[in-house]
Every structure is written in structure tokens, then in C-alpha cells.
Amino acid sequence: MLEIKVESMTNVQPVEVSPSGFKIIWGELKKDRLALGSLYFLLILLVSVYIASFMMDQKALARVDIFSIYLPPSDTNLLGTDYAGRDVLGQLIFGTSNSFTISLCITSLTAFIGLCAGLIAGYFGGFVDHVIMRVIDFIMSLPSTMMIIVFVTVVPKFTVINFIFIMSIFLWTGKARLIRSKTLAERELEYVQASQTLGTPHWKTILSHILPNISSIIIVNFTLNLAGNIGLETALTFLGFGLPESTPSLGTLISYASNPDVLENKWWIWLPAAAMILVLMLSINFIGQALKRAADARQRRG
């Protein structure tokens, strides 16, 4: 796979390395104005979206009103209405919170599976590693978009939870690979062997020694994946194979644009949602790339 390395060659001054992963990352992030701005922006956006969606009445929003179909933006409907006369702004707010929450769930679940598989494969090596790697190779060589779509169609009872599981089946592999290779490298260091000779059980060596040493990579990877999953979820919903209708997503609003008339003449329905996805993904990516640079720089420094 192509590894995306966006890094500038600016020299990093050797900074006192304080070994708490979060502290270092925060320290590096503070120096990057774009990333810091993105973080603040994202926090404000998400907090207001969640509060707003909490206060709004979802039922009222879903009510069809045939007298106000396709209204352009006005004082009562700041972003107009859709084909059933529902308020677009309200759907945008719900969609944002749903899309973000679900992507966060998918990212967490895949992070958990990938972490377990990667740590076990990398730490124990040998046969276990071989089996896990073959499974990963296989899943990675499947056409995942299509597989997800087929799974979504054949699953007997399609719910949000099922959707999260189906996505996760195909999305944990890259993570597992990355974590395995880092674990392999870490395992060769003598402190791991030392821990074994001190009578520490394997699970404890893995959790208390190896995990903290690969934490910054995990955080970076989590952030970048979160952005990617928002894109993937909305794309699938856009195609009609993502979130069920009871849980509107940003992709739902954009999918109205498959009607050429909406795409061409009723921009207020789909464009705000598209912009929202772009803004979310961009700001999360800016944060993730800054974290990545920080982690790389730290590795260079040793």
C-alpha cells in the first residue's frame, strides 16, 4: 500500500522528551497552528451539533409536509426543505452527529480488533502470527466496498449495530498490520526480554510495556482512520447501503442529489452536507497529519 508521508523537512529542535504519550502529542500539536485551529474548530462544531441534536425533536423533523416541498432557504428554514418538506438544517445537524458517532464507533471497534490481532501476532510470532497474517492478507485482497454492500443487503435484520460490525470486518486489517510490525520491532528490544525474566506474564508484558511504547502510532492511526471512515460511511449511505433510513446521515442528504434536478437546481439540499463532510474530514486530517509528523520527528530523534 502507498504510505502517505506528508512531511516537511523543517528541523525539529531536540525537546526534552517527557515520556507520557498524550503530553508529547499535545506539546507538538500546540506548535502547529493549522492543526490547533482545526482542533478548536472541530470541538466547537461537534459540541454545538450534539447539543442542538439533543434539544431538537427528531419526530417533528421527520414529519412529511407536502405543502412546503423543496423550499429554498428562508427565515423559517435556514437551509430550505427537501422533497418531503422536511427542514434541511435539522437533518444536517442530525446527520452530522449520526455520521460522526457511527464513524467513531467503527474506528474504535476496528482499533480494538486491530490492536488485539496485531499485538498477538507481533508478540508471539510463529504459527499464531502466520495464521493471523494469512487472514489479514485474504481480507485485504477482497473488493471490500462490494463485499460490504452485499453483506448489508443479505443481513436479515439491518440495524446500525449490524452496519458497524459489517464495516469493521473489513476495516481492521490495515491497523492490525501496522501494529504487528511495530510490535515486532518493539519485541526485539531488551526491555521486553527483561520483563519476561522478571516473572511478568505475557499479557502484562504486552499491555504494560509494549502498548505504551506504540501508543503514539495508535493515536495517529486512529485519527486518520476516523476521517477516512466518515468518508466511507457517508459514501455507502449515499449509495443507499449505509445507515438505515431511521438514522439519517450526511450521506442521506447527499443521496438526494442522485436526482439530477436536485443536483442541478436545489443546491441547498446536498451542498451543505457535502461541505460538512469535507470540513470534518479536512480538520480531522490536519490534526492527524500534525500528530504523524510529531510521532515521526520523535522517532528520528530517538
Binding site: V17, S18, P19, S20, G21, L189, E190, Y191, Q193, A194, S195, Q196, T197, L198, G199, T200, P201, H202, H209, P212, N213
Partner: protein
């Protein structure tokens, strides 16, 4: 009394290759060695890099799987135990590692590093634990406020002392020291070595001391074994090996020690040339047709050499 007895130990690492990644050959890292350590003594293992010294040491603490042979610790065979079954014995056998940088977890504070073995074996209150750690920090010559620092705040020599303190907390009977000073500055080496000797007196520790520097080994050890390609080629008291080497490989090793004294330097060059000639001439006499060293034969009460 014999504390550790190693009998015909073999550690072979498989090399995989071919179509189905089957085992095509083995790296015979340790290929049939036998020696024993008496309580309270320091036994040295010397040999060039790659001769299998570390593998031997790691086999004793189960960091490597044993292919065949026995490792008897106080009469109990460790070689067949699983990782979990080994736990009670780890209290008695500890290891000091070569690299003071990678052998301490960079993300842990000194207090957590030293307390790791204690927390595995004993239930102590925070206060008791703190007292014990302070005691050992004092023993290895580090100030009490080092406790809450991280490894990167220390020098190489200090880090090695932290590693030593960690190995001491369980009051082991045997310590395997795998080149404990070879990564340190020469100026610090002697300090750490003397310190290891002081500890031995105080805690009655037995050392299996691994090294490639013959002069360090001689300074430290009562007896030593010379390893070459996974085999012992000679074994005896330090004086016997140093003053009266019998095997051509031992002779070369000794001839290779740099001489700091300018007067005898010429003599040394001379000796080196002679040994080199002898080695070229008689090499085949010391090894069998596969280039493997012969089994050890006694030539005096304490001196064994691999001769045909």
C-alpha cells in the same frame, strides 16, 4: 555445592526456506556444551561474537527454547518447563542485559522499573515497596530522588545500575550477566565491575558472566569456558586458561588482547605472528572434518580441552 549444571545443551534455530517455508537447516547456536557453576563462584563464558554465549545464557532463563540437553538448577531440570512453570525459578535466576539503553522501558519511571519483579511475586503496600526500592537504589549508588525520574535522564553507567537493582530485588541466587559493561565507556566499566563484585560478597550471588573481552573475564571470574561456534573448546581456572592455553583458538584469543605496556608490545606482536602461523598450520588438528570442535578432555583436575 553445584548450583547450576548444564548438560549437553543444544539450542538450534530453524532456518526456513523452499516452497512451503519448511525447515531446511538449523543455526546451531549452541551445539552440545557441558559445564557447571558452584555456589558463590563467578564463571565466565568467552568467545567471539556469534559464538553462542548469549544464547546459552538466555536458554537458562527460558528466553530461548532448548533443543536438547538438561539445565539443572539445584537439581531441578529447567529445560522442560513451560514459560508459566518457570515462574517460581525466576526469583532465583536473574539476568543483567548488555544494552543499558534498550533494556529499560523508556516510558516507565525508575520506581516502576525496579518494582516490576516485586509486584510479580509479593503483595506489598506502597510504603513497603518504596522502602525496599530506596534501599536498593542506595546499594547501587543512586540518590533516592532518582525514583520518579525516567531512564533517559540517566547516563549509561547509571542505567546499568538501575538494571542491576532491578535484578537484585528478588534476592536471586544466580545472576546471568550478559556483557554488562561492553556498552559502557571504558572509564565507567571498572567501576561497574567492582561494584558487581561487592554485591557478590554482600549477597552471596553466583555469576554466569558472559563477555568477549578476555581481560575483563579474567579480572572477574574464578573459572571460565571458551566458546567457539556453539561449542566449548577449553575450560579451566582463569589462570590456567590465561597462562597455559592449550587449544589453538584460546591461544589466538589471548594473543589478540591488546597490550598497553610499550615494552612488551613488541613481544606481543611476535607472539601474535607465531600463533597465527601455528593456527594456519595445525588448524585441522583441532577440529574434526566438519570444522566442529572435539569433546572436552581432562588434562588436569580443573582444566579441560577439546582435543581429538
Amino acid at each position: 555445592m553445584v548450583l547450576l549444571k548444564i548438560e549437553d545443551l543444544k539450542v538450534h534455530f530453524p532456518i526456513r526456506g523452499g516452497f512451503f517455508r519448511t525447515v531446511v537447516d538449523y543455526v546451531r547456536a549452541v551445539d552440545g556444551i557441558t559445564f557447571e557453576l558452584s555456589e558463590g563462584e563467578t564463571y565466565g563464558l568467552v568467545g567471539e561474537s556469534g559464538s553462542g554465549k548469549s544464547t546459552t545464557g538466555k536458554a537458562v532463563v527460558k528466553l530461548n527454547d532448548v533443543t536438547s540437553g538438561r539445565i539443572l538448577f539445584e537439581g531441578q531440570d529447567l529445560s522442560k518447563l513451560s514459560f508459566g512453570q518457570m515462574k517460581p525459578y525466576r526469583k532465583d535466576i536473574q539476568m543483567i542485559f548488555q544494552d543499558p539503553y534498550s533494556s529499560l522501558n523508556p516510558k516507565k519511571r525508575v520506581v516502576d522499573i525496579i518494582a516490576e519483579p516485586l509486584r510479580n511475586y509479593e503483595r506489598l503496600s506502597v510504603g513497603e515497596e518504596k522502602k525496599i526500592i530506596q534501599n536498593y537504589l542506595d546499594k547501587v549508588g543512586l540518590s533516592p530522588d532518582s525514583m520518579y525520574k525516567y531512564p533517559h535522564e540517566f547516563s549509561g553507567g547509571q542505567r546499568q545500575r538501575i538494571g542491576i537493582a532491578r535484578a537484585l530485588t528478588l534476592k536471586p541466587k544466580l545472576i546471568i550477566a550478559d556483557e554488562p559493561v561492553s556498552a559502557l565507556d571504558v572509564s565507567v566499566q571498572a567501576q561497574v565491575l567492582n561494584f558487581l563484585q561487592d554485591l557478590q560478597k554482600e549477597f552471596k550471588i553466583t555469576y554466569l558472566f558472559i563477555g568477549h573481552d578476555l581481560s575483563v573475564i579474567r579480572h572477574m571470574c574464578d573459572r571460565m569456558g571458551v566458546m567457539y561456534r556453539g561449542r566449548l573448546v577449553e575450560e579451566g581456572t582463569s589462570d590456567e586458561i590465561y597462562e597455559n592455553p592449550q587449544h589453538i583458538y584460546t591461544k589466538r584469543l589471548i594473543a589478540a588482547i591488546p597490550d598497553l605496556n610499550p615494552e612488551s608490545r613488541e613481544k606481543k606482536t611476535h607472539l601474535r605472528k607465531r600463533v597465527e602461523n601455528e593456527y594456519k598450520q595445525y588448524r585441522s588438528k583441532y577440529f574434526d572434518d566438519k570444522g566442529r570442535a572435539y569433546d572436552l578432555k581432562l588434562i588436569s583436575d580443573t582444566h579441560r580441552v577439546a582435543l581429538p
